[in-house]
Amino acid sequence: MGIPVRRFDAVIVGGGGAGLRAALQLSEAGLKTAVISKVFPTRSHTVAAQGGISASLGNVQEDRWEWHMYDTVKGSDWLGDQDAIEFMCRKAPEAVIELEHFGMPFDRLENGKIYQRPFGGHTQNNGQTPVQRACAAADRTGHAMLHTLYQRNVRANTQFFVEWMALDLIRDSEGDVVGVTALEMETGEIFILHAKAVLFATGGAGRIYAASTNAFINTGDGLGMCVRAGIPLEDMEFWQFHPTGVAGAGVLITEGVRGEGGILLNANGERFMERYAPNLKDLAPRDFVSRSMELEVLEGRGCGPHKDYVLLKLDHLGPDIIKQRLPGIREIAMKFAGVDPIKEPIPVIPTCHYMMGGIPTNYRGEVVVPKNGNDETRVNGFFAAGECACASVHGANRLGTNSLLDLVVFGKSAGDSMVKYIKEEMPTWKDLPADAGELSLARVARLDNQTGGEEVADVRIAMQRTVQARAGVFRNGANLKLGVEEIQQVAERVKRTQIKDKSKVFNTARVEALELDNLIEIALATLISAEARKESRGAHAHDDFQHRDDENWMKHTLYTGSDRSLSYKAVHTKPLSVDYIPPKERTF
């Protein structure tokens, strides 16, 4: 009784922006292409991207891709690979115009050109003055992009497998990728999708944190599959945060609230920012406020039953100001925190937003791993793009509006690489290994037969609390060391999760247990990578090592899951055509 096998030229896991853009290249090249997705593609998390997509079109103000490149290198705190960054910024105008030709409804100027809005971190002349570089479709840029790409894919005959969850990568004895196993939720059956090339575009994994803006689907399935298949993860210590998300929910409270006079309080009712920043107080820079908030929690002055948040107090502003100037915030507080800020303070906590690290790739979207003394040996048949991939363009911190750009530029680039690989190197399918699919079957069987284990939700919450407390915005050696121990204990509990519902059809409990298998690998990678990095760079702010240390730490982390070990590889300092942008102090 073998596992049923279906064959495609290319299989793409993930139906968000990157997966759809890659699929389009493949289908339009006449290749038989399958996209598998846990949810309907237009309900991928790409819809949450509002800000826009950056490109140096120069429609509003003079702009050059070299300036965009400089901003991205600086934003990455010199951890980004400059060849990949040059590639992305040079390709950006073409990528946006292509989306326009696909029918994406960008906002326009009176002269008919695409309108561009300002966005933090984007400048002219290498940091001199702000520039309007972000192209947007109202506040629905991600949504418009997804719908546009989905329609194009339907036209190009891409085959969609919706409500399918990929379980494991299949590699043959040479280490080449020859397919994936996947669970069809509707039947509960497991299939092998046999392919000449596989692309992961599985998005972020913000759900490892207790406080996250990420939708529930963002469980980093691709990264978990990589770890189980012996592919390392790159730069997993770098996560981007917002300072004030509603505790327990993740919905963001804009920083404008503190501008209007909102203040932060700890469990003692103390306005603690006066202690950390006597002059600026609650209006200190975003990362500084975030770290102060988390330090209050770590030192036991957090609020609530778990002492794991602080309070944002607005009631002293009076009902009129709150109703007039902050109506949206009042609505969010009432809906997601259950408090009316006219009467009560809002529980808030620094909230995870974006994963800079991921599956190691080059700018062609090929997955590259250390092998035989070469740090970047291609894994035949395996590609990755979008938030799950680490090209690395975002380095230690992502610049706003570069995420949507990443999706389309590297989605297309990976798609092109796959077409070339399939047409030039893969006239036919490689054989599946004899044990293909057994790992997935064993994982599901373990889950079905487990007795005396723990509830998935309980273990997930334990993981999320650990990651939030130990690898949040405030990091120091002692705390990270504790975190590494604690998360390894949680990982043992994940091995014994239990589900009550053993049915096959649309068993969401099973899906959530399988997702937790993926999340825990990412949580381990995050803690272990962060504990080792003894410097502060971008989003990794280490209290014991408060400065960037280029001499010792300008290098990418690679985490290997089998023995939970780390290795490092060099940052690419050679752009494709322009001069290297040497490191500078990152001030704004």
Partner: protein, 82 residues
Amino acid sequence: MTDIDPIEMKRIRWRSRRGLLELDLVLERFLARRFDSLSQPQLVAYRELLDLPDNDFLDIVNGKADLGDPALMEIIGILRTI
């Protein structure tokens, strides 16, 4: 109107996973508190709402827009206050 059987109810639960966190949170609450006591017509209405694009759905839940169909608005009314 087709009857909604227990398997269809499980499918609807899964389709309540969305691309936007705000919707995930509202629908999670709805599933926990109200879903099991919905009538057949209410289940059909909820299933229809799940076909909305996420951003439109959230705008409606947030009261920034309405729908013409009273059966759908009845469910929206619950989602707005839950």
